[in-house]
Symmetry: C2
Subunit: 97 residues, 2 copies
């Protein structure tokens, strides 16, 4: 591809997939929240978060550097943790703005 | 699935796909940086960034709420912009830590 529009179209396609995957990942966190509530476990499990970061840095082949991947997944984990906590507290469901 | 381990395995699989897609998206940003350099355009184009955020919020069906999707993509755009700038300055290639 040699045109800006073509690359931007590809970014838009990737973003649609990212939205789907980020939500699928978050649904897993919600389910984990329900299970942890039943098992009386805490939402915050630092060893598991460290494991996730190790895994994604190991999988990284660039062009994002490892620090960028770590920053992105720290944010992804942060949003998952909020949802997981919310589901452990028996919070309400998703609302569109 | 009714076990924590199963949901965590699913999260790990999703994370592998996310790392691939985030890097593919970043490669597009690098290519866009090269093109913009040839066309003498600026790296920062706020209308395009606003368009990206509108698209991802529109695609969002939860359980992440729209504010969470916006926060995540602001970070993703931020990392892309850094790489794009770097490629416009003729910066070096990816290095593993």
């Amino acid at each position: 591809m040699s045109d800006l529009a073509g690359w931007r179209k590809r970014i838009d396609e990737i973003d649609q997939q990212l939205v789907k995957l980020l939500n699928e990942r978050s649904q897993c966190a919600v389910e984990i929240g329900h299970l942890k509530k039943m098992l009386s476990q805490h939402a915050w499990q630092p060893q598991r978060e460290a494991e996730i970061l190790r895994n994604v840095v190991k999988a990284n082949e660039g062009p994002l550097d490892d620090a960028a991947i770590r920053r992105l997944f720290e944010r992804i984990i942060d949003e998952a943790r909020s949802l997981e906590r919310h589901s452990m507290e028996g919070g309400g469901s998703f609302r569109k703005e």
